[in-house]
């Protein structure tokens, strides 16, 4: 700016100087060449013309004057004087000055016109940038040629981005962009202006609604040359429009769907509008009512007086019920009347009063009051019926039901007790009824239990035998629940007795079946072990035969060795006893003794069963090691069943080791007293082991990992152990194989 000013101030001076020098040079040349005016005049006029191209007219005017003076002074006689001798010279000088003036005037006018055009353009640009719209020029193919500042400001695009043809795709909402593309395609051929509303994304990432307006510039053939477009932000208008629309919808819904009839009237009582409920309640279509006086909806007897009331209300409008204390009636189109409540409110403006009447049909309410009175009566009837039903229900349920007081005196018993026990109601009411019908053993338990529960006030259950009128006892499940007062004292006992005889019998049958199955499996196992048993007997017998021969050999000598012979005979005796023992044990195992729990030495039981299974182990090259605790406590158990468990575990262990070749096949049976007061037996093998996932499944019936197994052994073993109050489980060894454990409670 500063530089420009400096430039402006020295340029006219320089122009004056250069112009003057030019004039001086021409004048001097003409003077020297003696060519006088014919050369100098046009040349100096040319200098003036050239100078007039410069921006300001002052140097040209200055030089014109200098030129005129120098021409007069040097070239026009009298020379070296400003006076003029000849008229022609004066005329020439005048022509010269006039021409210069005309040239300067023309040039400066032209220049001013140009400057003002430039200024106009700059102003237009500023204007365009200043208007609060986005403004565009596109070519016929919608490539942007120009866009104002607003677009960049709003979208945050760089000028390069805005110039690219796909700018719209980036900033328009995808849905609107599709519509835009379709519209542009159509408009390209039609060449007509168009408008659309579209969402455009601002630099903050939020979309706002814009009104897009594009106008085409057409050539003479009607082809589009340019599109001039604007985008106007109408977001607020849109939002306002939306809010208004919502408010309107809300009002419409409120008005139309109101459960009350609403009538809108003008100050003169003409109906403007009614809602659906009015149509329903009064039986008119809304088109029929619009324009009619509101009295149309009243019984005829009120019609005359009503305009007066209305006039009074118009004078002092307020929100209030109509006709307070009076029963109002509406009149349907068919003439029927119905009771109504009416609420009035003024909703208009001072210059246009409008009133709203909310009419509620109260005939339903009147009916409801009546219905309520009736239903209360019914409820009382029902309660009586329910009570009777309940009594019947209690008598009908297949349980004995009781209410006792805190001291177990019977307050109530249902029919079932009398039916089952054959007691008379008097007998049943007496406190010692239980003593008469309970099995003596169970009665003792009941008394103890009742005594404890009286203080604890907690519900309890027991199983007891109760004698029926046929003299037979049946098992019952006794359940008593206390009713407590706030101090936790028992007020009442509610008790039931449920016949569980069949369940008990089934349980017993199951137990017997299980024992039977266990025995069957045991006999099968022993059957499988026949060869083993034969071997077990054969061993001592072989010994006896050999020893007998040996004995004879010693005696046969010429000098018999009596000591050796005696030694052989001693071995015969020992082996004979051993054979006898083996046979006795096998007989004990095979004997069908009824299941009986007795004091039992687990070690001895194990030794017996091992006598049977020993050869089975040898046949499979399994080395047996027994680590039996010497101080092992006796247990309470059925030796036949527990031996079956040990036998199953031993046989499983042998089975698991059958395919093992790379390590010694060993089976360890271990007994010990555990910390929980039980005797624990462990059977440990070095076999192929079990998958951890079969942890529990192996105890399921018919689950087996063996090729020829039945899947009963472990299932039966577990039920035997559990029926002894013990537990059977297994764990993988640290090394190869598995250990099975079971526990049996000590004998006390």
């Amino acid at each position: 700016m500063k530089r420009n000013q400096t430039y402006r101030s020295w340029r006219p001076a320089a122009q004056c100087l250069i112009g003057s020098l030019g004039v001086a040079l021409v004048t001097f040349a003409s003077f020297r060449l003696d060519n006088r005016l014919t050369l100098a005049l046009p040349l100096e006029l040319l200098i003036v013309a050239l100078l007039s191209f410069a921006n300001s007219p002052f140097p040209s005017v200055f030089v014109s004057i200098v030129a005129a003076l120098s021409l007069d002074y040097f070239l026009m006689p009298p020379i070296f004087s400003l006076a003029l001798d000849k008229v022609t010279d004066a005329v020439a000088l005048l022509v010269f000055l006039t021409s210069a003036a005309v040239i300067i005037l023309l040039m400066s006018q032209r220049k001013r016109a140009k400057e003002s055009a430039q200024q106009n353009e700059a102003e237009l640009q500023q204007l365009i940038d200043a208007i609060p719209q986005q403004v565009f020029v596109f070519d016929a193919d919608w490539s942007p040629l120009y866009a104002n500042q607003r677009e960049l400001e709003y979208t945050g695009l760089t000028p390069q981005e805005a110039q690219s043809k796909d700018a719209v795709a980036r900033i328009f909402h995808p849905d609107d962009f599709k519509r835009l593309v379709v519209l542009r395609e159509r408009m390209r051929s039609e060449g007509a202006p168009f408008e659309m509303e579209a969402r455009i994304r601002g630099k903050d990432g939020q979309y706002r609604w814009f009104l897009i307006r594009d106008n085409p510039l057409l050539d003479e053939q009607g082809r589009v040359l340019r599109w001039y477009g604007t985008r106007t932000d109408i977001e607020e208008g849109k939002q306002a429009e939306e809010a208004l629309r919502k408010a309107q919808t809300l009002f419409e819904n409120f008005f139309e769907l109101s459960p009350n009839a609403i009538i809108v009237t003008e100050g003169n009582g003409r109906i403007i509008r009614v809602n659906a409920e009015v149509e329903k309640a009064f039986g008119y279509a809304r088109t029929e009512l619009e324009g009619l006086p509101v009295e149309t909806l009243m019984p005829e007897r009120f019609r005359a007086i009503h305009p007066n009331h209305r006039g009074r209300y118009s004078a002092r409008p307020s929100v209030r019920p109509m006709g307070t204390g009076l029963q109002l009636y509406g009149r349907r189109k068919d003439g029927a009347e119905f009771p109504v409540d009416i609420m009035l409110s003024p909703v208009g403006t001072a210059d246009r009063p409008i009133f709203m009447s909310v009419v509620r049909d109260v005939s339903d309410k009147k009916r409801a009051d009546e219905a309520l009175r009736l239903s209360q009566q019914q409820l009382r009837d029902q309660e009586e019926q329910t009570s009777r039903d309940l009594q019947q229900l209690i008598d009908a349920i297949p349980q004995q039901v009781f209410v006792f007081d805190a001291d177990w005196s019977p307050l109530y018993a249902n029919q079932r007790e009398l039916e089952y026990t054959g007691l008379t109601p008097q007998e049943a009411q007496s406190k010692d009824a239980v003593a008469r019908i309970f099995h003596p053993d169970d009665f003792k338990r009941l008394v103890v239990l009742r005594e404890r529960m009286r203080s604890e006030g907690a519900p309890f259950e027991m199983e007891a035998r109760i004698r029926g009128k046929d003299g037979q006892y049946r098992w019952f499940l006794i359940r008593d629940n206390p009713l407590l007062d706030e101090q936790g004292r028992v007020l009442r006992w509610y008790g039931t007795r449920t016949d569980i005889e069949e369940g008990k019998q089934a349980e017993e049958a199951l137990r017997k079946a299980q024992a039977e199955l266990a025995r069957a499996v045991r006999i099968m196992t022993i059957g499988e072990l026949t060869a083993s048993i034969a071997h077990e007997v054969n061993q001592p017998i072989s010994g006896i035969v050999i020893n007998a021969n040996t004995c004879l050999r010693w005696l046969k000598e010429e000098s018999p060795d009596l000591e050796e012979a005696r030694e052989a005979a001693r071995r015969i005796a020992r082996d004979g006893k051993r054979a006898g023992d083996v046979i006795a044990r096998i007989r004990a195992l095979a004997k069908k003794t009824p299941p009986a729990k007795e004091r039992l030495d687990m070690n001895e039981a194990i030794r017996e069963i091992v006598a049977v299974a020993g050869d089975e182990m040898r046949r499979n090259s399994v080395a047996l090691r027994m680590e039996l605790a010497e101080d092992l406590s006796p247990v309470l158990g059925d030796s036949v069943q527990l031996q079956q468990v040990v036998l199953n575990l031993v046989m499983n262990g042998v089975e698991a080791e059958r395919t093992v070749a790379e390590r010694p096949r060993e089976l360890i049976i271990r007994t010990q007293n555990d910390d929980a007061g039980q005797v624990r037996v462990a059977v440990q093998d070095t076999g192929i082991g079990l998958e951890p996932q079969s942890l529990e499944r192996i105890f399921d019936a018919f689950y087996t990992t063996k090729h020829d197994g039945m899947g009963m052994g472990l299932s039966i073993s577990r039920s035997i152990v559990q029926s002894h109050g013990g537990r059977l489980w297994w764990m993988p060894n640290d090394g190869p194989g598995t250990t099975f454990y079971f526990t049996i409670p000590k004998f006390q």
């Binding site: 061993q539 072989s542 040996t550 050999r553 082996d575 050869d615 040898r618 047996l624």
Partner: protein, 209 residues
């Protein structure tokens, strides 16, 4: 007749049978050692005396047949008499195939066992003798130089001195000298004697013509 230096080894896990066998065998005049399991038998250092093994087929841990296999692997070729409570044919066939001398099913006649023992000890003694002889021959063979071994291989293969000389690229005189050394070191009286020795040693001609 029992031989005083022989030892009869008995492996049976059943005490009745084990002690009965011990008594019987001792009554026939043999020295007896008994073991309740194969493992305990294997733990004992092998005796340098003729004898035999009386072995129960079924044993806990390592079975009788397993022990037989194990002994073969260890090159301890002791004659074995198997005894068993169950005369199952497949087991006896397997045992006999693996070189068992006898397979007796309980109860057996005492004389059958004693005869089998007699037989086995005789067999073992002969076996031990031939083994000793082979060891002696092997010692002599070890004393030969590599060149002498080359010459010996060719001599027993029937090559003439001239052929040997040509094959080894040495003079016939040298071959003759080496050949004399071989005969002397091997203590062979004749070529036939040397051939027999080489067969016992399992020497085969390594080089083909």
């Amino acid at each position: 007749m029992p031989e005083p230096d022989a030892i009869i080894l008995v492996v049976d896990d059943d005490i009745s049978v084990r002690e009965a066998l011990e008594g019987l065998i001792r009554s026939a005049g043999w020295r007896v050692e008994t073991f309740p399991s194969a493992q305990e038998f294997l733990a004992r250092p092998p005796a340098d005396a003729p004898g035999c093994l009386v072995l129960d087929v079924r044993l806990p841990g390592l079975s009788g047949l397993d022990l037989q296999k194990r002994l073969a692997e260890m090159n301890l070729e002791l004659p074995i008499i198997f005894i068993t409570g169950h005369g199952d044919v497949p087991t006896s066939v397997q045992a006999m195939k693996a070189g068992a001398l006898e397979f007796l099913t309980k109860p057996f006649a005492d004389q059958d066992l004693l005869n089998a023992i007699q037989q086995a000890v005789k067999h073992d003694r002969a076996e031990r003798r031939s083994q000793a002889k082979i060891r002696e021959l092997h010692g002599r063979y070890q004393s030969l130089t590599p060149r002498e071994r080359e010459i010996m291989e060719r001599v027993v293969a029937g090559l003439l001195n001239k052929q040997i000389a040509a094959e080894l690229g040495i003079s016939e005189i040298t071959v003759k000298a080496h050949r004399g050394q071989v005969m002397r070191k091997m203590r062979a009286d004749s070529l036939a004697d040397l051939v027999t020795m080489s067969e016992a040693l399992g020497i085969r001609r390594a080089i083909k013509l």
